[in-house]
């Protein structure tokens, strides 16, 4: 048997519960959706700058007996690259289209890369192309992971070119007129 007092308390509790339900929002359901982002591997590279011109000239009458001099007013070129990898590292190779004329050698050296992410490290001293080539890939930057150097013409690592007289083969140097080669840069997986 409910007494009047107990019944009153019972109703108060029930009413307070009802009021409580009204005063505070109750979570009645949840549902969800998925967001999936897939990042693909990317390997893009470009070279900015002007073609290079070197002139091998007389050292002048006052320096008779000395080796010819290389007149070089070139500015560096720059390499811009975007790399996205899942793991591992990439490198940048340079390949000459042909060997140089006898008596000449060309040093190609990368400056310190700029940008963000794993932009890599230049190979100390760079690489050399002379009258024997090589005409195969030579690595100038290693350790590239996911990165972006910036796409501006002077962003990314500067590439410095130094043409000099190769004393070992200088005896075969001739005035053959203009001679040109093409350098090709490749962003590739480490082999």
């Amino acid at each position: 048997m409910f007494s009047r007092k107990r019944l009153t308390i019972f109703f108060i509790v029930v009413l307070m519960t009802a009021v409580g339900f009204s005063a505070f929002a109750q979570a009645v359901a949840t549902d969800l959706i998925g967001v999936t982002i897939t990042v693909d591997a990317i390997a893009l590279i470009k070279v900015s700058g002007s073609d290079l011109t070197f002139a091998v000239e007389s050292p002048g009458a006052a320096a008779a007996g000395e080796l010819p001099v290389v007149n070089d007013s070139n500015t560096p070129t720059y390499i811009q690259y975007t790399s996205v990898v899942a793991s591992g590292a990439r490198k940048i190779d340079v390949k000459a289209s042909a060997a140089l004329p006898a008596g000449l050698k060309l040093n190609i050296r990368a400056g310190t890369p700029t940008g963000h992410g794993g932009v890599g490290t230049p190979v100390a001293g760079g690489v050399m192309v002379d009258s024997t080539g090589p005409t195969t890939d030579q690595t100038i930057i290693t350790g590239i992971s996911s990165c972006a150097t910036g796409s501006g013409g002077t962003q990314g690592p500067a590439i410095y070119y130094t043409l000099s007289i190769d004393e070992a083969t200088f005896g075969s140097l001739t005035t053959a007129g203009a001679s040109g080669i093409t350098l090709t840069y490749t962003l590739t997986a480490n082999s």
Partner: protein
Amino acid sequence: MSKVRAICVSLLLAAAVSAAALSFEVSGGWPLTLNASNLAGTAGSDFISTHTSASNAVIIDIADAVDQFEIWYIDIHKVEGTWDDSLAISAIRTTDGTGLGTIAGGTVLTEITDTTTRFFEGAGNRSSIHIQLVLDGASVTLGAGGYSLQVVFTLLDDS
């Protein structure tokens, strides 16, 4: 007899309390692929940082309201799967949906965090409420791979 009456009254009250069987359905999702076409420029550039889904990437339907005055709220939070802390995701309500009820809020970007946040609110049944998602912080430095999370919507009944 009094006991029986008391039980009947309490059952009626309980039934009144639980009568609001408000429900909702959330559909959609956002699969996003970032590749070279999403770079800000030519070689050397990074991904465009901000990416926006379709305006109706997520559609919410709210049903079973007692009447157009039954107030409800939608809260939102995320549950990360394989995610990267450099990425931020936000949501914005792009349509009001249709129905006799009302809807308010959610029309400015709300960042979705691990903590439940009030997104928008309304009253009564509303159908086809469109939600757009926005991703910030995309960068090539994420590395190739997949990143995922779940956006959890919670319906709260204020009746």
